[in-house]
């Protein structure tokens, strides 16, 4: 990795961290995943035909698949005070009706393939094609997974909780 690339990577850390958080659903796991992602990025060469950000997403996602879905990091964090300090206030309000904890819980119900698509499109702002490139799936698959993820979260966050939709009306699925 060139010095320029390492500077780019440094600038990308907040974005990559949000992605790691979206995947893992906790800051303790997210920061550990971020650290391992950075270490991997510094050890593995970036392919000539892949953008650094897209490559970073791929590395992060693959590490998450390999190591973090098994909840290993969560167990490790219990014994690691430094990681525990990264926990955030789960009662923080996201909207007037929804807390951070509720969003994390709702995200945790999504299948992994839907969660990663929602993270890349909704949180990271990637296009369907860019998301498809990161995940190595057709863009049509991105579209369908994303729609299912949004539908399910809408159901959990708005309908089942009996909260009001964004227009003030009761939301229907």
């Amino acid at each position: 990795m060139t010095k320029t690339q390492s500077e780019q990577l440094k600038a990308m850390l907040p974005v990559l961290r949000r992605f790691a958080y979206s995947l893992t659903g906790s800051m303790a796991d997210a920061d550990d995943l971020l650290q391992n992602t950075v270490e991997k990025l510094l050890t593995k060469p970036v392919p000539d035909d892949v953008e650094l950000l897209a490559w970073s997403y791929r590395i992060c996602r693959n590490l998450w698949i390999d190591e973090y879905r098994a909840n290993k990091v969560r167990q490790a964090a219990v014994h690691n005070p430094e990681l525990q300090q990264a926990e955030v206030d789960a009662t923080a309000q996201i909207t007037s009706d929804i807390t951070l904890k509720q969003v994390e819980s709702a995200m945790a119900t999504l299948p992994d393939d839907q969660r990663e698509v929602l993270s890349l499109v909704a949180v990271q702002g990637l296009s369907y094609q860019d998301t498809a490139n990161v995940l190595s799936v057709p863009s049509g698959t991105v579209m369908s997974r994303l729609a299912r993820a949004r539908s399910k979260l809408a159901q959990i966050l708005f309908l089942e909780k009996g909260t009001k939709g964004p227009n003030g009306n009761e939301v229907t699925a």
Partner: protein
């Protein structure tokens, strides 16, 4: 016509083709509930994004930022960065410098067993004279530049400590008769070849080599035998002074 969540979701992202966008637009104009549904789906995005932003408002841990900073303090040239260097046919150590740091990758026991044994038992350099000239470069030069060694050009790329304790170097050998990426280790006072991966020409064009597959092969080998981080420039200079003896 029924508009599905999938269509609404893609409409939200402006990812439908023009015809579909117009179709959904007309449907929304005619049916208020579709507008409500789209707002709900949009709200999901808002909530998820805001949660991610709020959860990550704190600074990135310093030890992770430091990893990026420390990446600029080593002096190791990437194996795959070699492609651009070869294409340019000019020694450009600065632009091709790959800075490797961090933990050694988890070793694959199976790969070590298979590759390690094969490489130790075979692939000995066939041209002793050429190998002596290559060894002279390995003995005396730090990574990042190309050096003439008889009828070939040698470019040391990185140096590292093998898990068996030996000091090793990854380098390329380029010439009319061969274009290889090699790992050799200093053992009993001489450089011994451990791994050789040929770089095949692409479309017969001189100076361009297909590196993707061979790079991955060599990276896998490196991951399994490296102990700790690669040597930085200062450590390489110390190794040169000690004739690469541990």
């Amino acid at each position: 016509m029924k508009i599905t969540d999938e269509q609404l979701s893609a409409f939200l992202d402006n990812e439908l083709d023009d015809e579909q966008m117009a179709l959904v637009r007309d449907a929304i104009a005619a049916d208020e509930t579709l507008c409500d549904r789209m707002a709900t789906l949009s709200m999901v995005d808002h909530v998820v994004k805001r949660a991610a932003e709020q959860a990550t408002t704190g600074p990135v841990p310093e030890h992770i930022v430091a990893l990026c900073d420390s990446a600029s303090e080593s002096n190791v040239v990437s194996f795959t960065d070699r492609k651009a260097e070869q294409t340019a046919q000019q020694p450009t150590p600065n632009s091709n410098t790959r800075w490797l740091r961090g933990m050694a990758m988890a070793a694959s026991v199976a790969l070590v067993g298979l590759l390690g044994w094969q490489q130790l038992m075979g692939d000995q350099p066939g041209d002793a004279g050429q190998w002596q000239q290559i060894a002279a470069v390995l003995d005396s030069q730090t990574s990042g530049s190309r050096y003439s060694a008889g009828d070939v050009t040698v470019m040391p790329q990185l140096s590292f400590v093998h898990q068996d304790g030996a000091l090793c170097r990854q380098f390329t050998v380029s010439g009319q008769s061969r274009n290889d990426a090699v790992i050799a280790c200093k053992k009993d006072g001489s450089w011994q070849q451990r791994t050789l991966v040929p770089m095949t020409p692409t479309n017969g064009q001189t100076g361009e080599y297909q590196t993707a597959t061979s790079a991955h092969e060599l990276d896998k080998v490196l991951d399994t035998i490296i102990k700790g981080a690669p040597l930085n420039r200062e450590q390489e200079q110390q190794a040169i002074q000690s004739n690469w003896q541990q």
